[in-house]
């Protein structure tokens, strides 16, 4: 049957577009904040637009943080989009105020230091080799709209010492003039946890292919 996907409805994000884009690529989609539904679906999408701190508050209000933790502990797929990706990091700093994130990945989401911000529009990415998400769309452009980003991605040493450990696949992008662009994480594939800084649901056919790649992997 069709993979069942829950788009987490916690008050942030262009959820309608995400639902429709996932349906378009063959998922059976439910928009809900119900914890059981979110825990049991084949895949969980965490959308997010706006401020990091506000998204974290909204996420905690529906116990989305616990749902994500439990799913990942059980190896069940989660896809974060835009601020839904940023909150997977340790913290976000906006207007000088630090807010704690979910801490799945080491690193802090910070303001992009570029001549024109927000980074708004279609940019290419340097797709991680062996990526599942970018299969067939490695050379396409995706729609970004953000003023903040994770500009480093640190791998945990303890994890690296584990022979069973598979390092995350990190896809990077840049914003700014040639030679002086700021580099940031555009996507991560880390076992059951995947995320994109751009909006696949707004990235036309390329975005649809990426979502289809994810849905097929469920």
């Amino acid at each position: 049957g069709r993979p069942r996907v829950v788009v987490l409805d916690y008050g942030f994000g262009n959820v309608r577009s995400a639902v429709r884009a996932l349906e378009r690529v063959g998922a059976d989609v439910e928009l809900t904040a119900d914890r059981d539904a979110a825990a049991e679906a084949h895949g969980l999408v965490v959308p997010g637009v706006g401020a990091f701190a506000a998204c974290m508050e909204g996420l905690r209000a529906v116990r989305g943080d616990q749902v994500v933790d439990r799913r990942l502990a059980g190896g069940r797929p989660v896809l974060g989009i835009c601020v839904g990706m940023q909150v997977m990091f340790d913290a976000g700093v906006e207007h000088g105020v630090r807010a704690e994130g979910l801490g799945e990945w080491r690193g802090v989401v910070e303001h992009l230091d570029a001549p024109v911000v927000p980074h708004m529009g279609w940019s290419g990415v340097d797709a991680a080799s062996g990526s599942t998400l970018f299969r067939g769309v490695e050379d396409e452009r995706f729609y970004f709209v953000h003023s903040y980003g994770a500009q480093t991605f640190a791998q945990g040493h303890d994890e690296a010492a584990d022979p069973r450990y598979t390092p995350p696949r990190v896809t990077w992008a840049e914003h700014g003039p040639d030679g002086g662009a700021v580099r940031f994480v555009a996507a991560v594939e880390d076992g059951p946890l995947s995320a994109t800084q751009f909006h696949p649901e707004k990235s036309g056919d390329a975005g649809a292919t990426l979502l289809e790649n994810w849905v097929r992997s469920l």
Binding site: R16, R20, G50, P115, P118, G121
Partner: protein, 256 residues
């Protein structure tokens, strides 16, 4: 890997129908904004903008329905402007599926509206539209451009460049700079005004008003526009989005 310069067709919508003429082949219904938005998407538009020109509140409700149906079928960003006066108006459009909301006159009357929207939804949802023209006669402004209302018929005496800079500071995520002098002339964008605003704002800048040939889009990009918006050249079939992008690409402008 520079961000591509966006090409944005704009549709005027009233009572759920596109009101300016539209000349596309193989179009079932040339007045349906949903069908037209899908057509522009298929042609390679990087975003689509709807301008709600409704005079009545009943028609504004119809617009919400149009946005909803468009978001169900079109998978590139959708901006909706016209008649947005409050954060509740913004909320309604975003919930319906708009990605960005254009604010114009209401922000001139009450600039705090810009900050209120940015605080509640983030600055990335807010496109501030500035309808500007060269000052003539007795009115003077530091930049030589003033903000107008009522489709360019009324001057405000507010300096257009200063207003754009102030709005960006208040939380506008991008500036849509519409030249009321060039609008409808097909004689090209007001490049001088574009450069003047570009020097002062660090948020994305959309050039609007005056597009007639593919070269005009190239000139706007070279003058510092992050995006170029046009209505009539696309509606009447004078140019396709593809033709514009081909010309931009040939001239070395980065496009999708």
């Amino acid at each position: 890997m520079t961000v591509a310069v966006r090409v944005i067709p704009c549709l005027d919508v009233d009572a759920g129908r596109v009101v300016k003429g539209v000349n596309f082949e193989n179009l079932r219904d040339a007045g349906d904004p949903v069908e037209l938005a899908a057509r522009y998407d298929a042609e390679g538009a990087d975003e689509v903008t709807f301008l709600d020109v409704s005079a009545s509140s009943g028609n504004r409700e119809t617009m919400v329905d149009v946005v909803r149906r468009t978001a169900d079928q079109v998978f590139v960003p959708l901006t909706v402007g016209g008649g947005v006066r409050s954060t509740d108006d913004v909320d309604r459009l975003l919930r319906a599926g708009a990605d960005k909301v254009g604010v114009n006159t209401a922000a001139i009357a009450r600039p705090e509206l810009v900050a209120e929207i940015a605080d509640r939804f983030g600055n990335q949802v807010l496109t501030l539209s500035v309808d500007a023209r060269r000052v003539t006669g007795e009115v003077t402004t530091p930049s030589g451009y003033e903000v107008t209302t009522h489709g360019g018929r009324r001057g405000t005496g507010i300096d257009a460049v200063e207003w754009a800079e102030r709005a960006a500071g208040l939380g506008a995520g991008e500036i849509l700079l519409n030249s009321m002098d060039a609008d409808g002339t097909t004689g090209g964008f007001d490049l001088e005004m574009l450069r003047a605003v570009r020097e002062r704002v660090t948020v994305p800048l959309i050039a609007s008003g005056g597009a007639g040939t593919p070269e005009h889009f190239v000139e706007a990009a070279r003058a510092g526009a992050d995006a170029v918006l046009a209505a009539s050249v696309f509606h009447f079939g004078a140019l396709t989005v593809g033709q514009v992008k081909d010309a931009m690409r040939a001239a070395g402008v980065v496009v999708r």
